[in-house]
């Protein structure tokens, strides 16, 4: 009984496993593992995972860039920032950069309107952005990756 109470919900397990994966997604094997744990048919767990925009069944990247498209961000020039990201990384929404580092996706309001325009890179908030600023931020990420490899 106690164990059942403390057992993580299906959604929690899916999110945890996704975060653990270097490409931030749920590969087939992981879905299978979670399905077994929860004693649910694998296709049903797949279906649940497909329902939540936060969960991905496709490989993504080490860094998930989520940009807010809501009114507040829009008014503060989010569009230009988004353009800058797309141009700098040479990807569109739903795509991964060639080096597998970044994945770009739209998001509903991040609840950080005071920082508009704002983006999330994994769990880190970057606010009050301009096209120049966002490029700097992305460069820093790339630098960090290079140095960690060396």
């Amino acid at each position: 009984m106690k164990e059942k109470f403390f057992q993580k919900s299906l959604i929690e397990d899916l999110l945890d496993e996704q975060n653990k994966h270097p490409q931030k997604y749920l590969p087939p094997k992981t879905l299978k593992k979670i399905a077994k744990k929860h004693k649910r048919p694998i296709p049903q767990v797949y279906s649940v995972a497909s329902f939540y925009p936060r969960l991905s069944l496709k490989p993504r990247a080490k860094y998930i860039i989520r940009v807010c498209e809501n009114l507040a961000c829009h008014m503060e020039g989010a569009e230009k920032v988004i353009e800058a990201i797309k141009e700098f990384l040479n990807i569109d929404f739903g795509e991964t950069t060639k080096d597998g580092l970044f994945y770009l996706e739209k998001s509903s309001c991040l609840g950080l309107c005071s920082l508009a325009p704002v983006i999330l890179i994994n769990d880190d908030i970057h606010g009050n952005l301009t096209p120049e600023k966002v490029k700097e931020i992305l460069k820093n990420y790339i630098e960090k990756e290079k140095s960690s490899k060396n």
Partner: protein, 587 residues
């Protein structure tokens, strides 16, 4: 007794049991409400919205399928507001649906077409919103552009077969009904039972259509085209020609098949008798020589595939006997040339089955080449109509011999419990060495999903079980695995009610219709002079002339099959995402 509540429908008062839905209440009051997604016992509805009604005091229109009645409720089913809403919802449905009606394989049973008359569209102007998709073609064809996402197939595959092949993938406007990753059905554990096909309200799910190929073969002067029809076909085909369910159609069916140009008309029931003598013989050998028990019947290809996928450790339990269709196929291709003096390569053998899985069965390596085409009952009816044959006005004719003669035992193969009963009639006589006049094994009959019976005759004790639907079969297999159930013989049919409820049968099949089709087959059995498979004189003839003894080497070569493990979900999800991507359909 349930409490009764007072409600009004369209101004008239009714007393109805508390807790039923508006839809149910209206049905009891004789008022028809159109529905597209709701299906009794399968989907509770709530998706399509076409069933909306006005309820006094409610802020919005209410969906009749999921709204329960309450004391004092006033329901209006036919107001201008309701009509307008239904029209709008219907137009939206059409916008997402590729309407190719005249060429759509679904034909009359299409529910989008059926409810048009409840909507009363005078002019349709819809902007088409559906996306083109790659079609999934195999035994069961999937056409996404016709799917209205009612989820009937999803629930069918889950609740009836427990396989979960079709699921909802994604959310909202971007969702899709498909196997995970949009894999083609042939790359999934789908057993091709067709239960989703008979419940799909549209042409999104249909069986592989082989009518053209058969018509071509019939026109080819170099071919000798032989046809055989399955036990359950005669109990249902009448429905497609306006006869009430449960009408047996045999003589006229034979006549229609001859008119279509088939050179010989045989009966899969002959194959069923053959299956029984081989299978009873196998059961006795397994008991005598203490081989693997319980033995599982193997005449339903959907069930066989299911065991190969999900219970590979139980493959040795499957009877090695081929199905009636496959046995007859082997016999016709191997012995008809000699009997009729025709070269083997001229023979084309077509079978008429209540089943979509039989189209898959003929592609199995042991059977390949023995049967050329399988037509469902629906396909045959279509062919008869295309040829302009007025089935009902034909004079009765008889099947050809030797492969058209059958016992009452074969006749009941089409209904759940029938194979078991037929096998017992033969096995019990062989095991006890006596002849019995009472041949009815009533405990194995009926429509309960799982039936367990003990046979206690003389010093012979047998415990047997019968299950229909793979969900029920799964329950039995788990019990056997956990040693909670000790039996010697298990019959499983994948379709509810057995083949009388098969995926190739007329649409719809309801419980009432199932009962009538079953009755028809039991009546046929009762009226047969020969009611045991081993007494069929042409079965004796076959063994004397060609096969030797029951279970002989020759019989094994022709009439028995091998099984092997087939991929289940574990195997599929063990692949990497990239590997799976190579198989998926474009979306």
């Amino acid at each position: 007794m349930k409490k009764l509540v007072d409600i009004k429908i369209n101004g008239k008062s009714y007393l109805m049991p508390e807790g039923i839905t508006i839809l149910e209440a209206c049905k009891r009051a004789g008022i028809h409400i159109p529905t597209l997604c709701y299906l009794e016992g399968i989907t509770e509805g709530g998706h399509c919205g076409i069933c909306v009604v006005e309820v006094k005091g409610a802020r919005n229109l209410q969906r009749a399928c999921i709204t329960k009645i309450k004391e004092g409720m006033e329901i209006y089913t036919d107001t201008p507001l309701v009509r307008k809403a239904r029209k709008t919802i219907y137009e939206l449905t059409l916008a997402n649906h590729k309407s190719t009606c005249p060429a759509c394989q679904k034909e009359e049973p299409c529910e989008i077409r059926k409810i048009a008359k409840n909507i009363g569209l005078s002019e349709v102007e819809v902007e088409l919103l559906f996306k083109e998709h790659e079609k999934d073609r195999s035994i069961i064809n999937r056409d996404q552009t016709k799917c209205i996402e009612c989820r009937r197939c999803v629930n069918t595959c889950e609740k009836i077969q427990g396989i979960n092949t079709l699921i909802v993938d994604g959310k909202g406007f971007n969702s899709r009904i498909s196997p995970p990753y949009n894999l083609p059905l042939k790359n999934t554990p789908c057993v091709f039972c067709g239960q989703c096909v008979v419940r799909c309200p549209t042409g999104a799910l249909t069986e592989k259509d082989d009518t053209e190929k058969v018509l071509d073969a019939l026109q080819d002067p170099n071919k000798y085209v032989v046809v055989s029809f399955a036990p359950a076909v005669r109990a249902s085909i009448g429905e497609l020609f306006g006869l009430p369910p449960g009408t047996l159609v045999i003589g006229k069916l034979v006549a229609a098949l001859r008119k279509l140009g088939f050179d010989k008309v045989f009966d899969v029931n002959y194959g069923a008798d053959l299956t029984i003598v081989e299978e009873a013989n196998e059961l006795i050998e397994r008991i005598k020589f203490r081989k693997t028990l319980p033995m599982f019947t193997s005449c339903c290809p959907a069930w066989v595939k299911f065991v190969e996928e999900f219970y590979p450790e139980m493959i040795p339990n499957l009877s090695t006997c081929k199905s009636p269709q496959a046995m007859l196929g082997a016999v016709i291709k191997n012995f008809l040339p000699e009997l009729e003096n025709i070269p083997k390569d001229k023979i084309v053998h077509v079978t008429i089955m209540p089943c979509t899985a039989k189209k898959y069965e003929i592609l199995r390596p042991d059977i390949m080449g023995d049967i050329d085409y399988v037509l469902t009952v629906r396909e045959l009816a279509k062919m008869i109509k295309i040829a302009g044959i007025d089935l009902l006005s034909l004079e009765d004719e008889e099947e050809d011999i030797p492969f058209g003669e059958y016992s009452g035992a074969a006749a009941i193969f089409g209904v759940t419990g029938g194979v078991m009963e037929a096998a017992l009639r033969t096995a019990v006589e062989w095991l006890t060495g006596e002849t019995f006049s009472n041949l009815d094994f009533v405990p194995v009959r009926g429509m309960k999903n799982i039936r367990i019976a003990e046979i206690d005759i003389k010093d012979l004790k047998l415990k047997v079980a019968v299950a229909h639907t793979l969900k029920a079969a799964q329950e039995v297999l788990e019990k056997i695995k956990n040693k909670e159930l000790d039996i010697q013989f298990l019959e499983v049919m994948a379709c509810p009610g057995g083949c009388i409820g098969g995926g190739g049968q007329p649409i719809p099949t309801t419980e009432e219709i199932l009962r009538k089709r079953a009755e028809a087959l039991y009546t046929l059995d009762k009226n047969k002079e020969i009611r045991k498979s081993h007494e069929n004189p042409f079965i004796k003839f076959l063994y004397e002339k060609f096969l030797g003894n029951y279970g002989s080497e020759k019989a094994h070569k022709l009439l028995h099959a091998k099984y092997s493990h087939k991929p289940n979900w574990d195997d599929i999800f063990n692949k990497s995402y990239e590997e799976i991507c190579k198989e998926v359909l474009k979306y």
